[in-house]
């Protein structure tokens, strides 16, 4: 089919005005946050229902047209990128909360519901949706589930996967499946729900999801501690976890904090300058918990792990202390950072981090390295900043080399080349560092079952041969 024919047919399938093919929209909807690939889709379509998605998939199979699911396009792995004449299927008009059951504490949403909209809906009903990260104002539930997004509260609440009671999907073959029927307990063979979560749109579309909600957290209180050394991140974590259930444990380097401070008017937590900082959050539900936190802090001071620290005295202060961590991404953005999102088991973090740091600084002493991340769950964000006087091409070329070294270390430590951002196009070449060939062969087999004609997000995560 010619692009013109595809567009005409699509217009017959969907409501008027829900098919776009002007250059501006093709460019806009053809890419995600990464902006490294030139977008080149033939059309963008906006279905309004599961039935319309099904009709699109049937059409795509019949005419062998490739489809790219598109959510909020905040993805960091080029999963929602269309470079090759695909039809982009955007969920912007499937943004309704369809049902809410207070007694089950579940909410049934269309896939295009914005993450923040779900959080707000929960809050309006005195409940809580705990998955949270800096892009929550734009990302969609369908995108969150397709990348199994993590974020800043994983240490306590787990990943997006842990909050799914049921899914409605349209498989690459065009079947509509209602997976898990919103049941808490349902041991009836393979749980297909979990195959679609994290599949990055390669098996089919997620069109609706029933999400679990929980009680609202009580009196969230933030500590920011200045650490003497990297290994102290683990000492402090273990000390606090013995007595307090943390809702977050983040870390960042002094360099990261300096960028945040120069970028915006964010106040330093204290005057003492520490090489690394840890941010802890917990529910201060009683005076006892507060007293425990104080005692634990004293222990950390006495052991020489911690140089100084502050505790939020109000929600405003808690919010402001979080800015030290949450604003890192945006404050280094002007320096064209090269980002890696890697993980190892928690206990190996300090050794792992030091080894990578040594390799990069040894080979590229001019590169500025910014470390931060969800260290409480073994997830580190390695950001390399482009030296001002180096060209973009030269820089990214050198970073490819860095990648190889970094991922060899990841492999040696039994870690992951993508902790929470998915694989998409950007990590595809490195998948084997985390998943051996025989495992990838099973992934291909699964893909073949759900999407025999290979119309769903082709070329993402792995190639077919």
């Amino acid at each position: 089919m010619t692009p013109e024919q595809i567009v005409t047919e699509l217009k017959a399938l969907l409501d008027d005005g829900k098919v776009l093919d002007d250059p501006e929209n093709l460019d806009h909807y053809g890419r995600d946050w990464t902006k490294m690939h030139a977008p080149k889709p033939v059309a963008v379509v906006f279905p309004r229902s599961t039935e319309q998605v099904q009709a699109l998939v049937r059409f795509a199979n019949e005419h062998r047209v490739a489809l790219v699911p598109s959510g909020g396009r905040t993805g960091l792995s080029a999963g929602a990128v269309a470079t090759n004449g695909e039809v982009v299927v955007a969920f912007d008009y499937m943004n309704q909360v369809l049902d809410f059951s207070p007694s089950d504490r579940t909410v049934h949403c269309q896939a295009g519901v914005i993450t923040e909209q779900l959080q707000q809906f929960a809050e309006d009903n005195d409940l809580h949706y705990p998955v949270d990260f800096a892009s929550a104002g734009s990302s969609q539930l369908g995108g969150n589930l397709s990348t199994n997004a993590g974020g800043i509260k994983v240490i306590r609440y787990g990943m997006s996967r842990d909050w799914v009671a049921g899914l409605t999907v349209v498989t690459g073959k065009g079947d509509v499946l209602h997976l898990n029927r919103d049941l808490e307990k349902n041991n009836t063979g393979y749980d297909l729900r979990h195959l679609f979560i994290g599949a990055e749109g390669t098996l089919g579309f997620i069109t609706e999801a029933t999400m679990k909600l929980t009680r609202q957290p009580d009196n969230l209180t933030v500590l920011v501690l200045g650490l003497n050394d990297l290994t102290n991140t683990m000492d402090v974590l273990q000390t606090f976890q013995k007595q307090i259930d943390l809702t977050a444990y983040e870390f960042f380097s002094h360099e990261a904090m300096q960028h945040v401070q120069t970028h915006g008017s964010v106040q330093a937590p204290f005057e003492t300058e520490a090489p690394y900082y840890a941010l802890l959050e917990f529910e201060a539900v009683s005076d006892q918990v507060m007293d425990d936190a104080m005692t634990l802090f004293e222990q950390c001071m006495e052991n020489g792990w911690v140089m100084d620290g502050v505790i939020s005295q109000s929600e405003t202060q808690a919010h402001n202390l979080w800015q030290l961590r949450e604003r890192i991404s945006e404050s280094i953005a002007p320096r064209t950072p090269y980002k890696n999102d890697i993980s190892v088991i928690v206990s190996k973090v300090p050794e792992f981090l030091r080894e990578i740091d040594d390799v990069v600084t040894h080979h590229y002493p001019d590169f500025e390295i910014i470390w931060f991340g969800h260290i409480g769950d073994g997830n580190l964000h390695l950001n390399i900043l482009k030296p001002e006087d180096m060209s973009k091409d030269d820089f990214f070329g050198k970073c490819q080399q860095v990648n190889k070294w970094v991922f060899e270390i990841v492999e040696r430590y039994g870690g992951s080349v993508s902790a929470e951002h998915g694989v998409g196009l950007i990590k595809k070449d490195y998948l084997t560092y985390t998943r051996p060939p025989e495992e990838i062969a099973y992934l291909r087999g699964i893909k073949q079952v759900f999407d025999p004609n290979g119309i769903m997000n082709p070329g993402k995560v792995f190639d077919l041969d």
């Binding site: 104080m294 802090f297 100084d308 620290g309 505790i311 005295q313 109000s314 929600e315």
Partner: protein, 249 residues
């Protein structure tokens, strides 16, 4: 010189308040409380005066229920030297607060009283002015800069359309505005040290004041909910609605 700082325990600035169903006030049950933001600025200013060697002692006072001691402890952690808690479970309105503060001032004889320009719960903006009047002292309100010069203090005030600087003879009352300074965080080591700083508790009667509200609240209402908008299908419908429903064109 000795500086007295007044701090108030109020609903945390970040909390979305809910009006009680019977419209008698806002729901305080299980709501996070914190130091009034303008009082935080007052404490910070006093601590800076002490760091500059101008203030020799900072006494912090709070009027309210037992739990107000948390806010006094916070101020002590920020650098105040000792605390006075005027304990009462009654509702304290501006005039009573000013009279109670006058009692404390007469006992402590500070050279300067620094307090917030208003508290974010009742937004009255009058306690500082009332205290100055009761004491017969000068007042520098809405301060965005405080410069002590011997027995005088110059207070730069934020007024409509500009700044005004007043020179006051000490002792005087200064009330803080938002841009006076950026308060620091209380550090954990200082919070621990603050636990050992002296905190004295007194009753309103000890200061010769009877706390009894003079004003009664008739009704508290939440702001009007904004109505959801509607989507129109096309320009023609929009024009039609503007013409015939909104009658603006």
């Amino acid at each position: 010189m000795k500086v007295l700082v007044a701090v108030k325990r109020v609903i945390d600035y970040n909390v979305k308040v809910r009006v009680k169903p019977d419209n008698t006030g806002v729901d305080l049950a299980n709501v996070k409380m914190a130091m009034n933001p303008f009082c935080e600025i007052a404490v910070e200013e006093a601590v800076r005066l002490k760091e500059k060697g101008i203030a020799s002692e900072i006494v912090v006072v709070s009027i309210g229920p037992k739990a107000s001691q948390e806010q006094i402890r916070t101020a002590l952690a920020l650098g105040a030297d000792r605390g006075i808690h005027v304990e009462t479970d009654e509702e304290v309105q501006s005039l009573e607060a000013a009279k109670l503060l006058k009692g404390v001032v007469e006992k402590e004889e500070p050279k300067m009283v620094i307090m917030g320009k208003q508290s974010i719960d009742t937004d009255n903006n009058q306690t500082g002015q009332m205290l100055a009047a009761l004491m017969g002292w000068g007042q520098g309100t809405f301060a965005s800069e405080v410069a002590v010069d011997g027995e005088k203090v110059n207070v730069t005030r934020e007024v409509d359309g500009g700044l005004m600087t007043v020179g006051l003879k000490l002792p005087a009352v200064v009330t803080t505005d938002l841009r006076l300074n950026e308060p620091r965080y209380a550090s954990l080591p200082n919070i621990m040290k603050a636990k050992k700083k002296p905190l004295e508790s007194v009753a309103p009667a000890d200061l010769g004041v009877e706390v009894a509200p003079r004003l009664s609240t008739l009704k508290v209402e939440a702001p009007k909910q904004r109505e959801a908008g509607v989507k129109v299908e096309d320009v023609a419908e929009l024009v039609d609605k503007l013409k015939n429903e909104a009658k603006v064109i």
